[in-house]
């Protein structure tokens, strides 16, 4: 028997997970549908709300869902009876870890597709004029991924995710509390603080530091302005390398934590 790696075993593990957890995936799309439906139905201009959903809410929901999903998917290692059952399945720890990671990566496009499909359907319910794909683009869903935005989004996701995974493993007894604190923390850091600075800071300015630039946002004549200061190429490469290495190191740490887990 191959004790190093078997792709066949990874596929079997993925099959087990999908068959046992399909309700969780269905529920996540259901919750998403409720959020997407509730915002434009609160009154006012549905187009404005849909723009808000696409531009502002999608990244938060995506990061939040991925983190929660990560905690949940590795939860099989935290409850004793489940962990015993799972650890005793004849496959290597790496195959078990990889099968879960593959699922998380696969979930990313599935979730994104579901999100925009829901926005498309609900947009057509609320708007008088047909809400087709080109109008959605006008509303700016592509802008969420425009230019360096998508790279920044991936940086945040792939750095937060293993951090969350490690957190879920170390604080297993308080996973719900930890999940809530982590999500609130993400929201405060990425959205609440920058918006607060813009509203209440004496100079009405906020700063976002990214691997490739610093973005300063400020209010001028009642409108939000942005100033983007790009870094030199070598500094961008160095920052990116630090991000990638930090993410990888966190994934490796999580793997060894799981591999050497005692029940």
């Amino acid at each position: 028997m191959n004790d190093i790696f078997s792709f066949n075993r990874v596929l079997k593990l993925i099959k087990i997970h999908l068959i046992e957890n399909w309700k969780m995936y269905a529920a996540s799309v259901g919750i998403l549908a409720i959020i997407v439906f509730l915002l434009p139905s609160m009154g006012g201009n549905p187009e404005k709300y849909l723009t808000y959903i696409i531009r502002e809410t999608y990244p938060v929901i995506m990061i939040g869902v991925l983190c929660l999903f990560t905690g949940n998917i590795f939860g099989t290692w935290t409850k004793e009876s489940k962990a015993i059952f799972y650890i005793n399945i004849p496959a290597t720890a790496f195959e078990k870890f990889l099968s879960k990671l593959v699922l998380i990566i696969l979930y990313f496009p599935v979730f994104t597709f579901s999100f925009f499909l829901l926005v498309y359907i609900i947009g057509n319910i609320f708007m008088k004029t047909p809400f087709n794909v080109s109008r959605m683009m006008d509303l700016g869903f592509i802008k969420a991924f425009e230019g360096t935005g998508s790279i920044r989004f991936l940086y945040i996701t792939f750095l937060l995710q293993p951090l969350y995974l490690l957190g879920a493993l170390y604080f297993k007894k308080y996973q719900v509390v930890f999940s809530s604190v982590a999500l609130i923390g993400i929201f405060i850091l990425l959205f609440f603080l920058p918006h607060s600075f813009l509203s209440y800071h004496p100079y009405r300015t906020s700063l976002n530091i990214w691997p490739d630039s610093i973005t300063a946002s400020y209010m001028k004549s009642g409108a939000q302005q942005s100033l983007n200061i790009g870094f030199k190429t070598w500094l961008v490469a160095l920052n990116t390398l630090i991000y990638v290495l930090a993410s990888l190191a966190l994934y490796v740490a999580a793997f060894f934590k799981l591999k050497e887990k005692e029940i």
Partner: protein, 276 residues
Amino acid sequence: MIQLKSLTFGYTNNYNVINDITLDLYSGKIYGLLGKNGVGKTTLMKLMCGLLFPKSGSIELNGNNPALRKPSSLNNLFYLPEEIHLPAKNPRQLIDLYAPFYPNFNEIQFFNFLTELDVDHHKNLKKLSFGQKKKALIAFALACNTQYIFLDEPTNGLDIPSKISFRSIISRAYDENKVFVISTHQVRDLDSLIDTVLIMNENKVIFNETIERIGEVLKFRSGSVAPENALFSHNDVMGISYLMKNENNIQEKINIETLFNGVIAKPEQIIPLFKK
């Protein structure tokens, strides 16, 4: 064969639950691991399955370290814990998902065991009672036909007819290549099932003898009064049960409960008899 050498383990640095155990467990035997609550039976089983790692000493299953959790080792052992987990699937779906990992899994045997243990073949396992779930997992564990089978308190939650069926299916699943280790504190449940008794006390295995040897060395009686030369006596439903030295070496039927209580209460009088 399972070999434990100077095995020591503790959940904290200043207290060892398992203290310097050296033990060989051979194929073709059903071991009854007996001990009071909290004495370390589950910990010992988890160490043998690689779910815990020793602080010092070693464990080998056919020369392999179970703590490495290699697929070739894992598909040769099955551990049934006291608290069990089963997916929300019916028995057919359970084997579709998990049986492919066990090369010797026998589907006919699995459904026969389920029938014998009176478990519905079509019901969602998650919706079964604790006892029913346990029986389903016992059937799965035995049908995997792994060489090493560790059952931790398998009769907890089982009704009386199921306990009888349990003994019956264990006897049928047994063959000379397998090692069964069954832990329990309900010693009567293992009556006429095990062929070697392991008794744990004070973080050690203090007693390791076959049923034949026990029957040669000790004799078990019950009555209204224990004789003066009884090594140990206790009250039970039969009145007073006691054990004595078997002077004539004719094989006696043993009473595991009396043996267990005697070894725990008077180890200094009983254990030396087996060293002669």
